[in-house]
């Protein structure tokens, strides 16, 4: 285990490598999250979402609404489905950041830890993709979408969207990395400081 300063320098050194790998395999890395998001959307909101699939790095969602002369109607009435495209890289850049943090820590069994972390990131990325799709539907379709059964209030969608895009991709890798430091000298030092609470 190395000190936090060296750790952060190593993270910065590794980032160009992990980001380059991520650029090369961005579609592949987004796959599990896109599949999960699509599965949840198609199962939970079958009356709204017609299909959801990943095309390279774009998560493409067709919905059961259409637009006729600026008016939102059902897809059947419109004769077409509205299609939304979400850039999965807006969320998946958490993966190379997490990889750089983890691999610069010289932890035991880094591959196992990385695999566990990756599953956690895919899960949160899926929630993020759902939040983005819901935000798009709220803005484009509006009232007919919000009135559909099982749709959360607009304020909750807005908050989840902002959290998923603005905070989660950079914060979750740090939190995952922090929890995976368990048993290391840095973790022990932090724990001792927490136990010795000067404010108490």
């Amino acid at each position: 285990m190395i000190g936090l300063r060296q750790q952060l320098v190593m993270t910065l050194i590794l980032m160009p490598i992990t980001f380059a790998l991520w650029i090369a395999a961005a579609g592949l890395l987004a796959g599990p999250a896109a599949w999960l998001a699509g599965f949840i959307l198609e199962q939970m909101y079958a009356g709204i979402v017609a299909s959801a699939a990943l095309n390279d790095t774009l998560f493409i969602v067709s919905v059961e609404f259409g637009n006729v002369n600026g008016k939102i109607v059902t897809a059947t009435e419109a004769g077409h489905e509205l299609v939304f495209e979400v850039n999965t890289q807006l969320l998946s850049y958490s993966i190379p950041f997490y990889a750089a943090l983890l691999w610069s820590s010289k932890l035991q069994n880094p591959a196992n830890r990385f695999a566990l972390g990756l599953f956690a990131l895919w899960f949160t990325m899926a929630l993020g993709l759902i939040a983005i799709v819901m935000k798009d539907l709220m803005l484009v379709v509006g009232a007919p979408f919000l009135a559909a059964p099982g749709i959360p209030p607009g304020a909750a969608i807005a908050l989840l969207y902002q959290f998923s895009v603005l905070l989660a991709p950079t914060l979750l890798p740090v939190l995952l990395w922090l929890t995976q430091l368990q048993g290391t000298p840095l973790w022990t030092a932090l724990q001792q400081r927490l136990i010795r609470d000067p404010a108490a």
């Binding site: 908050l159 959290f163 905070l167 914060l171 929890t179 724990q191 400081r193 927490l194 010795r196 404010a199």
Partner: protein
């Protein structure tokens, strides 16, 4: 393990509370947007000695000659990063005076890097839009979060030096 769990719970609760408050319309109108406007003004003031073709209009930074402009939006004003730092500092045990110093200095450190982000993006956008997009969407958010980590690490080191027995053993 229990104390770490307690730290994480307090951290996440504080984070979500502050983040939700930040998103409230009155807070956006009364605090966040004026603050973001001041960031654009400060950025243009810092650029002006080197490039007199830059003006700021509200949250927009514009190059008069080319017409290129960047608008500073939510996520680009460093407020979310500051919220992460504030939540971390508040969740970590220390005296209130120490916490307030850390929050004040940490906020300045985050905003200093954020202004560098705004200025760099303003020129990168005029040079190459693809590079601007990648830097804006993926590179700078990570660097800002690392800045938060560095500030927090310096804070922990400072706490240890103030109370030497705290982090040694």
């Amino acid at each position: 393990m229990l104390v770490m769990t307690k730290f994480l719970i307090i951290f996440l609760a504080t984070l979500l509370t502050l983040f939700s408050v930040e998103m409230l319309t009155p807070v956006q109108h009364g605090v966040i947007q004026p603050f973001t406007t001041s960031l654009a003004t400060l950025s243009s003031l810092l650029i002006l000695p080197f490039d007199d073709g830059v003006i700021s209009q509200g949250r927009i930074l514009r190059d008069v000659a080319t017409g290129f402009a960047v608008s500073i939006e939510s996520g680009c004003n460093g407020v979310e990063a500051a919220i992460v730092l504030i939540a971390g500092v508040l969740a970590f045990p220390a005296r209130w005076q120490q916490k307030l110093i850390a929050i004040a200095l940490g906020f300045i450190a985050i905003q200093a890097l954020n202004i560098l982000r705004i200025v760099s993006l303003f020129y990168l956008g005029q040079w190459n839009y693809t590079v601007f997009e990648w830097t804006h969407l993926y590179f700078w958010p990570v660097l800002i979060m690392i800045d938060v980590l560095v500030v927090f690490a310096i804070y922990l080191k400072w706490l240890a030096s103030v109370e030497p027995k705290a982090l040694t053993s």
